[in-house]
């Protein structure tokens, strides 16, 4: 009789228990997958941030505008390669509560500062020539069911046009592909000129400035130079690396994110405890049987292998199924929660760590009863009956 056959028979003996244990392992790993997806969303953009990009904003708060002249004054600084400015349009499609990132900018500079965006060359040319043209991320196109060439009225929660109208006309001319898993494709860009000339107030002011520098090693020096240039003026600035800026934004949510994650981690380990106990218990109950097997000549090693194999089977199967179901759930939640958690995704890293944890779970829950089974004194065990 080979070991695999024995393991299969043992697992199938108490079907209800095996199934229940398997289910609780699955649930634990679904939670694990969700937890990691949340964590990934929380760190949204950090991995996409370029080390060679700096962000300059008003020192008091980024909703305070900067004067347009700052763009030229920053581009005169040594080591600055490209420069672009952005504003916040406060755009919404139909529901004013669902705002998204629509950034008025000099579109010509966009690809210099963000060379990673992939845009069809023909669409790009068309975009540069269309005053009301929009460049939209592909995920955003899919989420809203938009099409190239479509005319689109978008509302602004902040800026009316000079005629008092809060709705602006646009035409979707081009789409772009980001480098992430779509989390950087939930935005859109428009011509600053259209925005600036048509808006009722705020002319020639801009929101923030993104600078691409030649050598990331100089980023601290250039950061200082920029802020010193405007020190003691009526509009002082605060410059940080793109990574620092995004990390700072995530930190605005504060300890809540961390706390939810800490709670989830506790949950995961509680569930592992529950399922681990069930596995260990099922071996404990078979003490007699193991004693009989040893009596008829099974070696100590083989007994350990049998017990271990059984728990590894359960843990790995549960882990795999849990991760798979987590993947499906995340896929569904992704679209539904795009507004709050654009970065919800399952990374290969999650799968790897998940499988390692499943392996560990199998080893720990198998080894303890396994070793006990190995040390089992046959005479004593049989006498207990």
């Amino acid at each position: 009789m080979n070991s695999l056959h024995l393991i299969r028979k043992n697992l199938g003996r108490k079907k209800t228990r095996t199934l229940l244990t398997l289910l609780s392992v699955i649930v634990a790993f679904i939670l694990f997958a969700l937890l990691n997806a949340l964590n990934h969303a929380y760190r949204l953009g950090l991995d996409l941030a370029g080390a060679d990009r700096l962000i300059t904003m008003h020192k008091v708060s980024f909703i305070q505008p900067l004067p347009m002249s700052y763009v030229n004054r920053i581009s005169a600084i040594d080591g600055v390669q490209h420069i672009a400015h952005y504003s916040w349009f406060g755009a919404y499609y139909q529901d004013p509560k669902a705002q998204f990132g629509l950034f008025p900018t000099e579109l010509e500079t966009l690809r210099q500062v963000y060379p990673e965006f992939q845009i069809d060359q023909q669409q790009w040319q068309q975009l540069l020539q269309t005053r009301t043209g929009l460049l939209v991320g592909e995920l955003m196109m899919r989420n809203n069911g938009w099409e190239i060439g479509q005319r689109l009225p978008l509302g602004s929660t902040i800026y009316p046009q000079q005629n008092g109208e809060y709705f602006w006309d646009f035409e979707i001319v081009a789409t772009y592909q980001g480098v992430g898993d779509g989390s950087d494709e939930l935005q859109a860009y428009m011509h600053y000129d259209y925005f600036n000339e048509a808006r009722a107030f705020g002319q020639d002011s801009i929101g923030w400035i993104v600078t691409k520098i030649a050598d990331p090693a100089n980023s601290e020096g250039i950061t200082r130079l920029i802020d010193e240039r405007f020190a003691n003026s009526s509009t002082e600035t605060k410059t940080s690396s793109e990574k620092g800026w995004i990390a700072g934004f995530a930190a605005q949510f504060g300890n809540i994110g961390l706390m939810v994650m800490a709670i989830l981690a506790c949950v995961f380990f509680t569930l592992l405890l529950v399922s681990g106990n069930a596995m260990a218990q099922s071996v404990r109950e078979r003490t007699n049987e193991l004693a009989v097997m040893k009596t008829i000549g099974f070696t100590d090693q083989r007994v350990v292998r049998l017990v271990l194999g059984e728990s590894l089977c359960l843990a790995l199967l549960g882990g795999l199924l849990g991760l798979l179901m987590g993947y499906l759930i995340i896929g569904g939640a992704r679209t539904a929660m795009a507004q709050f958690l654009p970065g919800l995704a399952m990374t290969p890293q999650t799968v790897l760590i998940g499988l390692i944890l499943a392996l560990l779970l199998g080893l720990v829950t198998g080894l303890i009863p396994g070793v006990r089974a190995m040390r089992l004194n046959v005479v004593e065990a049989l006498a207990r009956r």
């Binding site: 209800t16 609780s24 809540i256 506790c266």
Partner: protein, 391 residues
């Protein structure tokens, strides 16, 4: 009945022999309940903070289409028209109303060391009278026309550089922090307050405001007030009761957090039910012969079922109480500050573990016990006596 009681007591007395798996059941359920209660307390505390200030008598007027005070804008002239509209409470011949400005400043959060959007409000002289819960805690009120500000208790607690009696530098502007205030735990405690006219100057807003807060002359005067404003061609505004306005401002975040809370709790509860089922199945199979003997002696199936169910539910209840207790001790009143999606500014609030949350937790525990105990109980009752005795 006596039978039921006897076997149940017998079961409970023998729990000590199955201590390991019973503890796992208790711990599992405690975990589920603690997490449910803790996560929901975040949402509950947040809602409470935003609802405390909301009065039914007060109205908030914003530019129509604005989703929050931050992106609303009213000219000084429009603000005057709104304050002169009928339906508002008159005190000494003047409407009880305040045209306000809402912006934000970057301050360093103590817990993370990074900067955060702290709300700053410019209020008109009636601003304080409109907030019933307002109470000056320390120092004095700012003087109109001077670059002075007072700080909410929550902001004082959560952000750096806010000390009564010192000067706060915002860019080139120097503000004297002259006092601190509380507001019954409401969201105004997260804010910095100064004179509206001074804020207009310092933030270069011209003669513009974000909102008008006003008190109605009586609770049903809203319709009259609203009709006049809507009919006025010089205005394009939305009028809401303050309570509704704040409920809307908290909706997105608290809905999101409760959503996560319930999803996690449901998943965990499933896990805990599987754990409970395992525990109870093995409890029953350990006692196969004992139960068969009882049945042979004439104890009814019903008594057996009840005894197993009671054991499962008592263990789960113990876990539930434990979990709720742990959550209460660890989290109740825990103060945090987070970014409210809607207003885009920081809100300081306390976790609130309310009685109904504790109740929800304990109910969930009982449900887990019920589902975890039911099928094992039925199996125990259905066992054929003769076969069971032979095992």
């Amino acid at each position: 009945m006596g039978q039921v009681f006897e076997i149940t007591m017998q079961n409970l007395r023998s729990i000590s022999q199955r201590l390991g798996s019973s503890i796992v059941l208790v711990v599992g359920v405690a975990g589920v309940v603690a997490v449910l209660v803790a996560v929901l307390s975040i949402a509950r505390g947040f809602e409470r903070t935003l609802s405390v200030v909301g009065s039914e008598d007060n109205v908030v007027v914003l530019r129509s289409g604005a989703s929050s005070e931050l992106n609303s804008g009213l000219s000084g002239e429009q603000a005057d028209i709104i304050q002169q509209a009928p339906g508002l409470l008159q005190v000494n011949g003047q409407p009880l109303a305040s045209a306000e400005l809402y912006t934000m400043v970057d301050l360093r959060k103590k817990t993370t060391g990074t900067t955060a959007n702290v709300p700053m409000r410019g209020i008109s002289p009636n601003g304080v009278a409109l907030r019933d819960g307002f109470q000056l805690l320390d120092g004095r009120m700012f003087e109109p026309g001077r670059k002075e500000l007072i700080v909410g208790r929550g902001a004082l607690d959560q952000f750096d550089d806010l000390v009564v009696g010192t000067t706060l530098a915002l860019g080139q502007e120097r503000w004297d922090v002259v006092g601190s205030f509380s507001g019954q735990g409401g969201s105004i405690e997260s804010e910095l307050w100064a004179d509206a006219a001074v804020v207009q100057g310092a933030f270069r807003r011209g003669n513009n405001y974000a909102s008008v807060y006003a008190r109605l002359s009586y609770i049903d005067a809203l319709a009259e007030f609203k009709d006049v404003l809507t009919a006025d061609p010089r205005l394009s505004v939305t009028v809401e009761r303050e309570a509704e306005f704040f409920a809307e401002q908290s909706g997105a975040l608290s809905g999101f957090v409760s959503g996560i809370g319930y999803v996690i709790a449901i998943l965990m509860a499933l896990g805990a039910i599987f754990g409970a089922l395992n525990t109870m199945y093995s409890a029953v199979s350990d006692r196969t012969r004992e139960i068969a003997t009882l049945r042979a002696l004439g104890f009814s199936r019903f008594a057996i079922v009840v005894s197993v169910l009671v054991e499962a539910m008592l263990l789960a209840l113990l876990g539930g109480l434990l979990g709720a207790g742990i959550a209460y001790v660890l989290f109740n009143g825990f103060t945090v500050s987070t970014l409210n999606f809607t207003s885009f500014t920081q809100v300081v609030f306390d976790f609130a573990i309310t009685r109904d949350l504790l109740l929800q937790g304990v109910l969930l525990a009982l449900l887990i016990g019920l589902f975890g105990g039911l099928t094992p109980a039925l199996r125990a009752a259905r066992m054929p006596i003769a076969t069971a005795l032979r095992t």
